[in-house]
Amino acid sequence: MYRIRFHGRGGQGIKTASRILGTALFLAGFEVQDAPRYGAERRGAPIFAYVRADRRPINERGVITRPDLVAVADESLVSLPMAGVRQGLDHHAILLLHSATPPDTWQQRLNLAGPVITLALPAGDPGRPSHTPAARLVGAAARLLGSIDRQALEEAVMRELAALDQDDLAANLAATLAAYDETAAHHGAVREGAPISALDYRPPAWLVLPFEEARRAAPAIHAAATSVAVNTGLWRTARPVIDLHHCHRCWWLCSTFCPESAIAVGDDRSPAIDYDHCKGCMVCVAQCPAHAIHVRPETAADQGERS
């Protein structure tokens, strides 16, 4: 059985990528199961989706813990424990990701025993992409499996993107097929994993759940402002950047309209954005009468600006 996991951010087309790959495998004669897993349903929040494919009916269900291929649309997720990208990456699983950093650097950085394949970031303006990040990823993933021909992939894209207008469909299809062609050197690199053996498995570390009084065991949060501990800034795919040369120091518009209260105004009436909690909704960009707030993709943000 093939077990494939896609990781990305809400809005990057990860669910659609899993459906395109699922449909392509189905057209290639496989039994297929594909599913997205949502947490917070919002653009930019980490999500994943998974695909299983086999020549016989599939009884496994749920999250894939031992993948054969992990395909990542956004490299910033790799170091984020909550995204779970590294779960089950062993000597046999392939990590495929969009990145300008070479594979051996990723291998060293993550101490990975298995292969890493990078897919060049798409050319053009990252702020105005002509296709979703997942479009290229799914093309490369299909090539890595080796069992999907170009025609089946094209048919799968046409079916799954049928609701798009002609231009968007054409741009996404072209990106998928281009990535499929670019990855020819790795054709068929993915190896199907074996099921977990019932003979020499690692037994679960079950415990007997101890009784605890309700002052501890009730699902209540007793502390104030615990959401500060949650770094929602990691959800951003782009950030607002204030140009203080053009800011009129109105002192209240951007900070008042920010739904996350992530903009503070100092004594000198200069606004500053808390990038740990700004989710990148860009309401401030729309509100600023001086047009002094610009949008910058996270991939293009300076190291110094990083939260």
């Binding site: 459906r19 699922g22 449909t23 189905f26 039994e31 297929v32 199961q33 594909d34 599913a35 997205p36 897993r37 949502y38 599939i58 009884n59 496994e60 269900r61 749920g62 999250v63 813990t65 099921p195 977990i196 053996s197 019932a198 003979l199 498995y201 690692r202 037994p203 679960p204 570390a205 079950w206 415990l207 007997v208 759940l209 605890e212 009084e213 002052r215 501890r216 065991a217 009730a218 699902p219 209540a220 949060i221 007793h222 502390a223 615990t226 501990a229």
Partner: protein, 416 residues
């Protein structure tokens, strides 16, 4: 007939479309909403006929469903979790009206704390309301069960509403290959509803669910529901066999996988049972005589089928994806009651496991370990203590959350 990839929600919507439903009262809730969105889209484009009305709550939705059913039309609706519970008063009321309809529940754990992922406490809360219950394990089964459910609900020997359950996420949002049967074949299996004397019309008023004081009449009517539900077991078997003859897919009241020659059994319901099936196959590879038994029908409870399936077995692990606080697993309780009412002798050793609450995964290793536990228990003849599937790593994760939440233990040592 086409074979295509469908989610469980898509399969439910296809079932309703092929059943040529007339009326859908609707109210959204995750993870069900895709069902009514799909139907609304088809009605909008004219791909199917019927009337879909958005209601202001599940309470009025269930009321409208029951009221429409008393006019003799074919009614479909869908909900989940808190929505099912919000409509609970009317589930009991309309079941007593003895008007057939089909309601989908997409299982999702109940508050509190709140979650989106599945367990069966929502649908089992409706266990005693008079709706019959079919529990699905695959997306194909969801589509087929909607068709079977209409035949069962509308059968003159039954005439009770039917609830079809599918698990959130694991089926609702998961695509699998599903055979969508031809409309003509469905029409032959499920002809138009013959409502007999169910014929409420504005111009010919009738009273529904009348008041009966003193208890005798009340006892008669309620016990008639019980007799009809019990009769539904035989009727279900007939319908399932006819379905198998026509469509080639067999959906018995109790699914048995390698159960006949097994010495040990896993018993569970819902989509997680396919994970158990996979574990059974791997354990069989290692030579263990183990099988899976999965009740599809929960109401009526197929006690005879289960007694027969468990006869002569050494050990049985019952895995409940639900929890009745102060009692334990509901399936375990009902199975133990069924076994006490006749054969088999000697009783197999019964082990109770609670797993998959709030969608918590049950790993292959845990199925293997449960098999090891029942083999050991059967050798000693003593049932093990009930166990929650929960690891020390999971407790450490909870401890982290408790530290953030400043939940205090007895001595208050957690409070910084």
């Amino acid at each position: 007939m086409t074979r295509t990839l469908l989610t469980g929600n898509g399969a439910a919507a296809w079932g309703a479309r092929l059943a040529r439903i007339d009326y859908v009262p609707a109210f959204p809730i995750t993870p069900q909403t895709e069902i009514i969105e799909t139907l609304a889209g088809w009605i909008d484009t004219g791909a199917m006929t019927g009337r879909l009305v958005t209601m202001d709550s599940e309470h009025s939705m269930v009321t409208a469903a029951g009221a429409a059913a008393t006019t003799g039309v074919r009614v479909f609706s869908a909900t989940s979790s808190q929505g099912l519970l919000y409509g609970m008063e009317m589930l009991y009321a309309i079941a007593g009206w003895r008007a057939p309809l089909v309601l989908i529940n997409v299982s999702r754990g109940l508050a509190s704390p709140i979650t989106l992922e599945p367990d069966h406490n929502d649908v089992l809360a409706a266990r005693d309301c008079g709706f019959l219950q079919i529990h699905c394990a695959t997306c194909q089964e969801v589509l087929d069960s909607v068709l079977i459910a209409y035949r069962l609900a509308e059968d003159r020997r039954v005439r009770l509403p039917v609830l079809v359950n599918l698990d959130g996420f694991y089926l609702s949002f998961t695509r699998e290959p599903v055979v969508v049967p031809d409309q003509e074949a469905v029409d032959r299996f499920l002809p138009p509803h013959d409502p007999e004397n169910i014929a409420f019309r504005a111009e010919t008023p009738m009273s529904q669910g009348v008041a009966v004081l003193g208890g005798s009449a009340y006892s008669y009517f309620r016990y008639q529901m019980h007799l009809a539900a019990a009769k539904a077991l035989t009727v279900y078997d007939e319908i399932a066999h006819e379905f198998a003859d026509r469509f080639g897919r067999c959906h018995e009241a109790v699914e048995c996988h390698h159960a006949d020659d097994a010495e040990y059994l896993l018993v569970m319901m819902g989509s997680f049972a396919t994970k158990a099936k996979e574990a059974v196959d791997r354990l069989r590879d290692q030579g263990l005589a183990i099988g899976l038994v999965r009740p599809r029908l929960i109401r009526p409870f197929p006690a005879d089928h289960l007694r027969e399936a468990l006869a002569g077995k050494k050990g049985v692990a019952v895995i409940d994806q639900n929890l009745s606080p102060g009692q334990g697993g509901i399936l375990h309780t009902e199975l133990a009651a069924a076994l006490s009412q006749g054969r088999p002798r000697p009783m197999p050793v019964l082990a109770s496991f609670i797993g998959g609450l709030g969608g918590r995964n049950i790993g292959a290793e845990e199925f293997y370990e449960m098999a090891r536990v029942i083999v050991e228990a059967a050798a000693t003849g003593r049932p093990p203590a009930p166990r929650l599937l929960f690891s020390d790593e999971e407790l450490r994760e909870v401890r982290k959350l408790q530290a953030v939440a400043r939940a205090a233990g007895r001595t208050g040592e957690e409070r910084p």
